[in-house]
């Protein structure tokens, strides 16, 4: 049986210090940063997160510092995407710019820790197979999805130039 993605559930106002503490600004690769992702708030995250897992949160995810280390740490954790009720502005830009997909969905309270969910990025439909429910997220506009799919803004721009 294929192991389905697992939800890591967070609350409101998850700040970038929670995603990656300031002392790790001395690292500049996603692999190194991923080792310390959520260290202060979910110490088990870095060791237990699996490729394809999904982070689900409430309002204002990624508030605080402009450190791109935060979405890089998430990218390095190989999570499939972050779903939240809303995102802080700088974090949103940074995530798209480095190719981390984000989805805004108002129903994240219905998704629990460890639920198995599937995400269709094109339609924005989230299927919760644990609870047998579906939710509608706001899909990213096509060109933004293009940037994410390319792996980020620099790769996207290079593709465009070629």
């Amino acid at each position: 049986m294929i192991q389905q993605p697992n939800v890591w559930k967070f609350g409101d106002d998850i700040d970038t210090d929670a995603v990656i503490p300031g002392k790790y600004l001395i690292f500049n690769t996603e692999e190194e940063l991923a080792k310390y992702a959520f260290e202060g708030v979910r110490p088990e995250f870095a060791a237990k997160v699996k490729e394809g897992d999904i982070i689900v949160a409430g309002f204002n995810f990624g508030c605080g510092s402009s450190r791109e280390h935060a979405p890089l740490a998430i990218k390095g954790s190989k999570v499939k995407c972050v779903i939240a009720k809303s995102f802080a502005r700088i974090f949103f830009r940074n995530s798209i710019n480095i190719g981390v997909p984000l989805l805004e969905c108002q129903d994240t309270d219905r998704i629990g820790e460890g639920d198995h969910i599937e995400v269709d990025f094109e339609s924005g439909i989230i299927t919760n197979t644990t609870k047998n429910e579906t939710y509608q997220a706001t899909p990213l506009p096509d060109f933004v999805r293009g940037i994410v799919d390319a792996g980020g803004l620099i790769a996207y721009a290079k593709e465009m130039v070629q």
Binding site: D13, D15, D17, A18, P21, G22, K23, L25, I26, F27, N28, E39, G40, V41, F59, N60, C63, G64, S65, S66, R67, E68, H69, P71, L72, S86, A88, R89, I90, R93, N94, N97, I98, G152, L153, I154, A157
Partner: protein
């Protein structure tokens, strides 16, 4: 009718722009510090561009982890110094020069009507001088390094009016925390904020920087105080360039308006772990503290140190007290005026200008169960050290609390 943000971004993109429009704007000044330039330079190199768009418009102050605390930080900083040299970037201040958000205003880069983008979330500080200033991440900064341009969505604007005279012992920080309490940690997300009213006009430039600095703590893209005579005075002999003050038109379109009267405002304190978790001091007075941090891009300016020295003069602190002047100039001025001696005699530690304990990166770190009262801008869980508790306050409250070893109303000592 246009707001200040609409006017500045229209000028910067070369055509009339309205709220919600996407524009490609030409940046007047770009800033990155040691903490963020590492990734910005990495992205810039990945782009395969050889030279930055204009080395005179890029400002790089080293302030986050200074002086370097380990080999890794030292090696990253050496790499950036080398890049700065290769690129011919002259506006570089190395370790000890000060915090970016003090270095830029002090050296006249923050001016009315300018578009200033910083690779730091508190870049909104420059709105205190009437600039449109906002923070971005490394990839966006790399783009600016390469092209001098950035795409932006023109924000809608919230108008905040503040009236009333602040009591003695109550300062800009208290007013700022009170505003954040009311607007909420994401209440201004994606918005610009314009500040009006007699309380705002009567704030010093230092107080205006405290206010605008914390706009990001309500999610704001920028926070702007309309430039006035005080702004022009501050810029005399300092401004790097010609500037045209930009004001909103009468009848400008605001999506929301707040009105505050601060005449009776008591000192405010943000409790762990959210900046909008704010109480009046009467609710938290008596909370024991282990450490006091006075400094940061919010409250490390000369006027802040002066207020602290006034309370500490001839007395001894009971809590470990760390003071970081916001810049070398602030430190020199405070040394010459005797403030530094007063602080040292009171038992404070004076550390070199920089961000220091604020982000828990390399000094003044607190441990599990310890409490720090800080004049900085963020009390996020674990920010100054895993398991530590952070309260935010004005310099006056921080000084009074340092003396008692517990959160104390500074008005009781005046």
């Amino acid at each position: 009718m246009p707001t200040i943000s609409e006017k500045i971004l229209s000028r910067a993109c070369g055509k009339e722009a309205h709220a919600d429009d996407f524009v490609i704007a030409t940046v007047d000044y770009a800033m990155a510090h040691d903490g963020t330039s590492v990734l910005a330079v990495k992205s810039f190199r990945e782009m395969g561009v050889e030279k930055v768009w204009d080395p005179e418009k890029i400002i790089i102050p080293f302030d986050h982890i200074v002086p370097a605390n380990n080999e890794k930080a030292a090696s990253l900083q050496r790499d950036i110094r080398q890049w700065i040299k290769e690129q011919g970037i002259i506006n570089f201040t190395d370790s000890g020069g000060g915090i970016c958000h003090q270095v830029l205003p002090e050296n006249g880069f923050a001016m009315p009507g300018k578009l200033i983008i910083g690779a730091d979330s508190h870049s909104c500080t420059y709105g205190a001088l009437g600039a449109f200033a906002t923070g971005v991440g490394a990839t966006d900064m790399a783009e600016i390094f390469a092209t001098g341009k950035l795409w932006l969505r023109v924000p809608r604007t919230i108008r905040i009016n503040v009236e009333g005279r602040l009591q003695a012992g109550v300062s800009a920080k208290d007013m700022t925390l009170y505003i954040i309490k009311n607007v909420g940690a994401d209440g201004a997300n994606y918005r610009a904020v314009e500040y009006y009213g007699e309380t705002i006009s009567s704030l010093s430039m230092s107080g205006r920087m405290t206010l605008c600095n914390m706009g990001i703590e309500m999610g704001a893209k920028t926070g702007i105080v309309p430039p006035d005579e005080k702004t022009f005075q501050y810029l005399k002999g300092r401004a790097r360039d010609e500037y045209t003050p930009v004001l909103a038109d009468d009848g400008a379109d605001y999506i929301m308006e707040y009105n505050f009267d601060v005449s009776d405002l008591e000192p405010q304190v943000a409790k762990p772990h959210e900046v909008d978790n704010v109480s009046g001091i009467s609710d938290v007075a008596g909370t024991p503290i282990d450490q006091v941090f006075i400094g940061s891009c919010t409250n490390g300016r000369y006027e802040d140190l002066e207020a602290v020295a006034e309370l500490l003069k001839g007395k001894k602190v009971r809590a470990r007290t760390i003071v970081l002047p916001a810049s070398r100039s602030v430190l020199i001025k405070a040394t010459e005026s005797g403030i530094i001696t007063t602080l040292l005699e009171a038992g404070a530690i004076i550390a070199p200008p920089g961000c220091g304990p604020c982000l828990g990166a390399h000094m003044g770190v607190i441990c599990e169960g310890e409490t720090c009262l800080s004049t900085s801008n963020r009390n996020f869980k674990g920010r100054m050290g895993t398991g530590g508790l952070i309260y935010l306050s004005s310099p006056e409250t921080a000084a009074a609390s340092a003396l008692r070893g517990e959160i104390t109303d500074p008005r009781s000592l005046l």
